[in-house]
Amino acid sequence: MSEPVLQLHNLSVDYPTRVGVVRGVDNVSMTVNRGEVLGLVGESGCGKSTLGAAIMRLLRPPGKIVGGEIVFNGQDLIKLDKEAMRHLRGAHISMIFQDPMTCLNPLQRVSDHVVETIQTHHPEVKKEEAREQAAKLIDRLGIRAERIDDYPHQLSGGMRQRVMIGLALALNADLIIADEPTTSLDVIVEAQFLDQLRDLQRQFNLTIILITHNIGVVAELADRVAVMYAGKLMELADVFPLFDDPLHPYTRGLLNSVPNINLTEDNLQIMSGSPPDLIDPPPGCKFHPRCPNAMERCKTQEPPFKEVQPGRWAACWLYGE
């Protein structure tokens, strides 16, 4: 069933700063298969958004990809020139951003946005045709087609987010990177949005990388979950096994610290400490200073990220060599 759309091999991203180099993404390897939703979770600053931006090759300066491969549909994106990469963006890989309120040009109508996106990649499409496509698209997203000539300020947050999805879907991208798509929506709109995303995903067999710090969103939508900490992948597994039986102590801590109506006060645990300073990360496993299961070896040697059970990867010495 699984045809890989995107494969990351040992991808690393550095941010050189005045006080030292921050490794935002450290040696990340993973595969995203066609038609799956991969949830990428972690705390603020763990590198999940950086990873998303690196795949698009839209890192903010001074961020730089310093190693590894990003293999998308069989070609290494790092080797592509800028123009080829630009053609890929929007047509084959699209992105949905966090804040729909600011993601649309306030001076362009909805139709202009869609038409522009279509014509950027298919200059042969006439404006009228593109407009028709745009109207169909937003209609399918539950916005009445006659609102296509509205300006962004005339739309609600949820509608703008749907327009953003529409833009991402306009050209049937093979991969959609959704960077915290629901963070700025309230829970009701968020729920509607997630339902809709799920429907669209099934309908078009979309491949989505869902970047979020919200475990609930991941549980709702993801097929597989990757957990990131301090720039590294800690655990990667199907969503149900991961929630039922997290392998990595960090995942366990993360799940235990999510408030839940079934939990008694005693069961809600907090994870002590805070994420490490990435300019001067701890030696060995980066999680060891906060890890309840830390062993001597964790302080010096970094555990490899490997398949510890079928379909389950983890970077932890608890699971042997």
């Binding site: 698009m56 839209l58 630009r86 053609h87 890929l88 963006r89 929007g90 047509a91 699209s94 992105m95 951003f97 966090q98 804040d99 600011t102 993601c103 649309l104 040009n105 306030p106 001076l107 362009q108 202009d112 522009e116 996106t117 950027t120 990649h121 953003m164 833009l167 991402a168």
Partner: protein, 295 residues
């Protein structure tokens, strides 16, 4: 003339009253419709000049130094020319120069600012250095030096003044581009594969326009004063042509003899028109940036 000035504001004020524009009630802004009217009247003046001016401004039409009277409402100058007519004709030159120079600095400053801010790097540093050097120079002195170099005439004066104001546009646009470049919608456009030039012309430029329009108007006000300064030191147009700055220069020695009108009226004209344009700019900025509006 007097009739026009009285009737127009009333009509316009009535027209504007209660009308809302971007949530701002125009008549509420101090800078309101009167200023717009003033500029409209002035522009009309420059086009209708031959019909409005009672006399030929370049020939003797009365005794020298006639004080303001019914025949010469602003009096006459030392050659017996009608000051009122000279002011009306002088408006033409001052407005030509002001508009031309503001347009020239717009044409040069805005594209440079856009490219500089957008591309950044060495080009940006070089352009910023040049622009800051011009900016650091006292404006009038630079204009005088350039005008002296280029010689008299409407076009040369405009070029001299335009050079002084290019950095104003450049710095404004560059700064705006730097901040708009970081907006999410620009990043979103990039993530959809938009070309650099599409981003610059369709995402960044339109969002800079409101500020440019405001500065354009303020620049006209500045240019009017600079033009008067140039004319005052004799770098304006042909001396026989009516020019407010030059008329002040010639009238200033008469002040001692109690003959106040040759200098007062051109001076008032300069002050009012410059004030008009700068208030117009302020008003525009209140309308275009509604967040700054007092409600």
């Amino acid at each position: 003339m007097a009739q026009v000035a009285e009737i127009q504001p009333g009509l316009l004020a009535r027209f504007l009253r209660g009308r809302k524009w971007y949530g701002t009630e125009w008549y509420m802004t101090v800078t309101g419709g009167f200023i717009v009217v003033f500029i409209v009247v002035l522009t009309a003046l420059t086009f209708l000049t031959p019909n409005l001016a009672p006399y030929d401004p370049e020939i003797r039409t009365g005794d020298p130094f006639t004080s303001p009277s019914a025949e010469h409402i602003f009096g006459t100058d030392q050659l017996g020319r009608d000051i009122f007519s000279r002011i009306i004709y002088g408006a033409q030159i001052v407005l030509q120069v002001a508009l031309l120079s503001a347009t020239l600095s717009f044409i040069v400053g805005v594209p440079l600012g856009l490219v500089s801010g957008f591309l950044g790097g060495k080009l940006d540093r070089l352009l910023s250095l040049i622009m800051d050097s011009i900016y650091a120079f006292p404006g009038l002195i630079l204009a005088i030096a350039l005008a002296a170099l280029l010689g008299a005439g409407v076009l040369n004066m405009s070029i001299a003044i335009a050079t002084v104001y290019v950095p104003t546009f450049f710095r404004l646009v560059r700064g705006q581009v730097l901040s708009i470049k970081e907006e999410m919608y620009v990043e979103a456009a990039r993530s959809l594969g938009a070309r650099g030039r599409t981003i610059l012309w369709r995402y960044i430029f339109p969002n800079v326009i409101p500020s440019i329009v405001v500065v354009f108007s303020l620049n006209i006000a500045d240019a009017i004063i600079t033009e008067a300064g140039l004319a005052f030191v004799g770098l304006g147009v042909d001396p026989s042509k009516p020019d407010w700055g030059y008329d002040i220069y010639r009238g200033r020695s008469e002040l001692v003899g109690g003959r106040w009108w040759p200098v007062t009226f051109p001076g008032l004209a300069i002050a009012l028109v410059a004030l008009g344009f700068s208030m117009f700019g302020e008003g525009l900025s209140e309308i275009l940036n509604p967040r700054l509006t007092e409600v």
